[in-house]
Amino acid sequence: MSLLELKGLTMRFGGLTAVSKVDFAVEKGQVFSVIGPNGAGKTTVFNAITGIYEPTEGHILFEGQELRRPVKRRLLVAVVLIGFLTGLTLAVCSANIDKLWRAVIVLNATDPGEPFPVRKAWGDFWAFLHADVMAEREQNRLTELEVKPKDGKFVIRSREKKIPLETFDDEEVATRRLEVLTALISLGGSTRTTIRGDGKWLVIAPPRHILGIHDTEAAAKQQAQDLKDLPEAAIEEKGNKTLLVKGGRTIGTFSARFEAEDYKSAMAFAKDAVVEKADGKWVALDDGRRSALETLETREKARERLLQLAMDSGKLKWRLTTRASLMFLGTVGTAEQAQKEIRIIQGSIDHDETPELAAVHRGQQRERVVLWIMLGVGLVVGSGGTYAVWSRGRRTTDYITRNGLARTFQNIRLFPEMLVVENVLMGMDARRRTPFWSVALKTGRAKADEQAAREKALELLAFVGIQDKAGMVARNLPYGDQRRLEIARALATSPRLLLLDEPAAGMNPSESIELMHLIRRIRDTGVTVLLIEHHMKVVMGISDRIAVLQYGSKIAEGTPDQIRMDPKVIEAYLGKEEVT
C-alpha cells in the first residue's frame, strides 16, 4: 500500500482547470519530487493534499484511506442536542421571556426565609408554554375599613365595597378591633410579619387582641393583673411625674395627669385580659409598631388570615390573565373565585360561550401551535445546520496534519512575532493534552510537559542546524534560516509524510546543497518527503522518483534518469525542436 495515492485528482476554479486527472503514488521512505514549469499546478496539488482545497474530482488516499473526520456517536449526540437547544430557545423566545419570567419567578416570589415553591413554579412554566389562563394577585391601596352601627351592634366593614368583616356589641371594642385589622391589612397579606411565639407568653383581651408579649409567665401575669386593677387605680402626683397606683403598687408612670387619665379610660376594655402561652403558635406582628395583633396555630394559617383580610377589605384582588400574552380577562375578589373562573374558562374550550372566551380560546390555540412550530423548526434548522457546517469541514488542514501529513509553504509562513523555539513548539501543541486547570495551577504535570516539549523543540532546531537562534524573534532570522525553521516546525508535528513546497527557492548553491543533505537526513529518520522544486540539481540529486506536471496534467513519471531522457519533459522545459 502506498503512503499517499492520488487518483484522478482534478481541481477546477470556476471555468479554469488548474489540475486535471493527476495520478501518482508515493511509497514509504521515498523522496518524491513534483516538478514542472511555473503555473503547472504543483502548489494546487499540495493545497489539495493538505486540505486547503477540496478536490473537485478524484480521491486523495493517505495510507489507503481518505482523511475525513469520521461520523462518531458523539457527533450525532451533539447535533441533536444543539438542534434541541435551538428549538427550545426559539420556543421560549416565541413565548416571550420577560412574561415567562414574570409568571414563573416574579409571581411566585416569596418573602425572605420562605422556601420558593419550586413545584408550582415548574408547573407554571409548562402552563405558560401552554398559554393557559392564570390568576395573579394585584394590590389596590385605596380601600379602608370603617365601623358602622347596625341593629344595635357595630359592624366592621370595608368602606368602598361594604364587605362586612366582624360584628361587635361594644363600640369601643369594635374601634379597637378596627385598629388591629387596619394594621393587619396594612401588612398587605404579607407573611413577613409573622413570628414564631415559642416560649412566649401573651396577654390577650377580648376579642383576641394581644396587648403584650412576654418572655416569662410571671411578667405576663403581672401585666394582666395591672390591667384588671386599672379601673380602681388612683392617680397620684409625685414630683413632676404622675403615677397610677393601686394598693401601694405602681401600675404606670406618666409625665402629665391627662396622659394617665387617657390611659385609664383607653385600657378599660382590657380588664378581662387573660394570659396564654404562645408555644408553637404564630403571632402576626405590626411591623411599624412591633405590637402583636393576633395569634394563629400555624404559619400557613397566619398567612392565610392576613391574605384573607386583605382580600375581604378589597386591598388585594385576583387578576385573571392569559399567561402567554398577559391579556387581561377580569378581576375577582378571592383566590377561590379566581380558580373557579379559570376552571370555567378552561372547561369551555370546546364550546365557545361568549365572544371573550372564544377570543381567549383562539389565542391559546394559536400560542400552542406557534410553540410547537418553533420547537420543530428549531430542531430541524439547528441540527441540520450543525451537521451541514460540520460535514463541510470534514476534510480540513488541521485534521490532516494531526494524522501525519505536514507541509511548508512556498512563501514562508512562520509566526513572525513569536520566538523561534515557540514556532517549533506550535508544531507540537496540537497533540498536547495538558488540561486548562493543570496549566492554571502550574502542576508538576504541566511543567514537565512544557519542559519535555521545549527539549524536543531544541533537538529539532539542532537537527536543522539553527539551535543557537532559538531565542530570536522569528521574523529577524535570515531567509535561509526561516526555511529551516519552517521545516523544523513541520517536523514537530511528527509527520509520516512531509510536503516541502520549493524549499530551495532563493537559496545560493551552497545553501541548496546543505538543504539536500537535510532532506536526506529527514528521509533517513523514516519520514517520507514529497517535494516541489525548481532547482534541477536538488531534484535530480535526492529524488527517488519524479512526477512532471504541465498545464495541470502529469506528462511523465519515473526515476531521475528516466525523467532526464523523457522527450516530453525536455519539450516542456526547453520547447519543441523544430524539424526543418
Binding site: 509566526f415 492554571a440 513541520a490
Partner: protein
C-alpha cells in the same frame, strides 16, 4: 525588559497598591478600586483582541451579562438569593457560555465582519437589559446586591472591595501569564499571527477562537460581578453601552496590546486621567479663582493624545515583549 526585572516591578506595584488605601482618601481609594475592576475587564478584552487578534467591539455586553447574572442571583426580589461567591462564579461561567454562543456561529467571519457582529451583540444586550423589565428592572437596575458576607463591613468601608478587586486582578494576571507560556496561550498567538499556518500545525482554528472568545467573556463577566457588587446594584443598561466597549479598547490601545502590562497600565493611565487627575485639576483651578473648568477640555486632550500616540508609538506605551525585543535587535 527581562522576566526578572518585570517580576520585581510587578511586586513593587502590587505592594504600592496594597498600601495605597491605607493612606489615600476614601474618594480616591474608591476610584482606584473601580480602576482595578476595570483592569480585569481590560485583561479579558486583551485575550480576545490582543492575544487572538479578533476585533471585539462588544465587551461591555459581557460585562453587563456578568453584572446582571450576579444581580438576578443575589437580590432579594428573586427567589434565588445566592451568596456573592457562587453568584460570581455563575456570572463568570454564564458570560463564558454567552461568549461561546455568540462566537460559535460567527467564527467564519474575519476582521471587520466579526467586529460588526460583536458590536451588534453589544446593542442587543443593552436593549435586552432595558426591555426585559421583569427580569432586570429595566432602567431602574437591580438592587440592593447584598454584601459577600456579614463578617466584614463591606458597604461602610470601600477597602474590602478594593482588596477583593486587587486579589482578583492578581489572580487573573497570574493565570494569564501562565496561559501565555503554555500551549493554550500560544495557540491564540498563532491564530493571530497566521491562521493558515496555525491550522497547518494541526490547530483547530474554530476551537481556538471559541476558547479565546469564551475566556475573554468570562473575565468580562467576572469584572461585571465585582463591579455590580461594589456598586451594590447592577447599574442601569446605560452602563453597558458601545461607548464603554470602545473606552476599554482605548485602554488596551494606549497601554499596548497583547500583554498584561499594557492592559493594566492602559487602564490605570486613562481611568486615572479621567476620574482622578481631571477632578483634581478642576479643584486646583477653582481654588485659584479662575473661571474655567479643565474637565470641559478633557475629551479634546484625550483625542489629541490618542492621535499623537498613533503617530509616534502605535504599539502603545508598553508594547508586547516581542515588539520590544524586535526594536532592540
Amino acid at each position: 525588559m527581562s522576566r526578572q526585572k518585570e517580576k520585581v516591578i510587578a511586586i513593587a506595584a502590587l505592594l504600592a497598591l496594597a498600601v495605597f488605601p491605607l493612606v489615600a482618601s476614601p474618594r480616591i481609594g474608591g476610584e482606584v478600586k473601580n480602576i482595578l475592576v476595570f483592569c480585569i475587564l481590560t485583561m479579558g478584552l486583551n485575550v480576545v483582541v490582543g492575544y487572538a487578534g479578533l476585533l471585539q467591539l462588544g465587551i461591555a455586553a459581557f460585562f453587563g451579562i456578568g453584572a446582571y447574572i450576579t444581580g438576578i442571583l443575589t437580590v432579594s426580589q428573586f427567589p434565588f438569593q445566592w451568596n456573592f461567591w457562587p453568584a460570581t462564579l455563575a456570572a463568570t461561567l454564564g458570560s463564558a457560555v454567552a461568549g461561546a454562543i455568540l462566537a460559535a456561529p460567527t467564527l467564519r467571519l474575519r476582521g471587520d465582519y466579526l467586529a460588526i457582529v460583536t458590536l451588534g451583540f453589544g446593542e442587543v444586550v443593552k436593549f435586552a437589559i432595558k426591555n426585559l423589565e421583569n427580569i432586570t428592572n429595566g432602567s431602574r437596575a437591580l438592587n440592593p446586591i447584598p454584601a459577600p458576607d456579614n463578617l466584614l463591613d463591606w458597604n461602610g468601608n470601600y477597602r474590602w472591595y478594593y482588596y477583593l478587586a486587587l486579589v482578583m486582578v492578581v489572580l487573573v494576571a497570574l493565570l494569564l501569564r501562565r496561559l501565555e507560556d503554555s500551549h493554550l496561550g500560544r495557540a491564540w498567538f498563532a491564530i493571530r499571527e497566521d491562521e493558515l499556518a496555525a491550522t497547518c500545525m494541526g490547530l483547530n482554528a474554530a476551537q481556538v477562537k471559541l476558547s479565546a472568545f469564551a475566556f475573554g467573556a468570562a473575565l468580562a463577566g467576572l469584572a461585571g460581578a465585582l463591579y455590580a457588587a461594589s456598586l451594590n446594584q447592577t447599574g442601569g443598561p446605560d452602563s453597558y453601552t458601545f461607548n464603554r466597549s470602545i473606552t476599554v479598547l482605548c485602554f488596551l490601545i494606549i497601554g499596548g496590546m497583547g500583554n498584561l502590562r499594557g492592559a493594566i497600565a492602559g487602564t490605570f493611565i486613562l481611568m486615572g486621567y479621567d476620574n482622578i487627575l481631571t477632578p483634581w485639576i478642576d479643584e486646583a483651578v477653582q481654588n485659584s479663582g479662575a473661571q474655567w473648568k479643565f474637565s470641559t477640555f478633557k475629551l479634546v486632550i484625550f483625542g489629541l493624545a490618542l492621535i499623537l500616540m498613533m503617530r509616534f508609538r502605535p504599539e502603545g506605551f508598553f508594547p508586547s515583549r516581542r515588539a520590544e525585543e524586535d526594536a532592540a535587535g
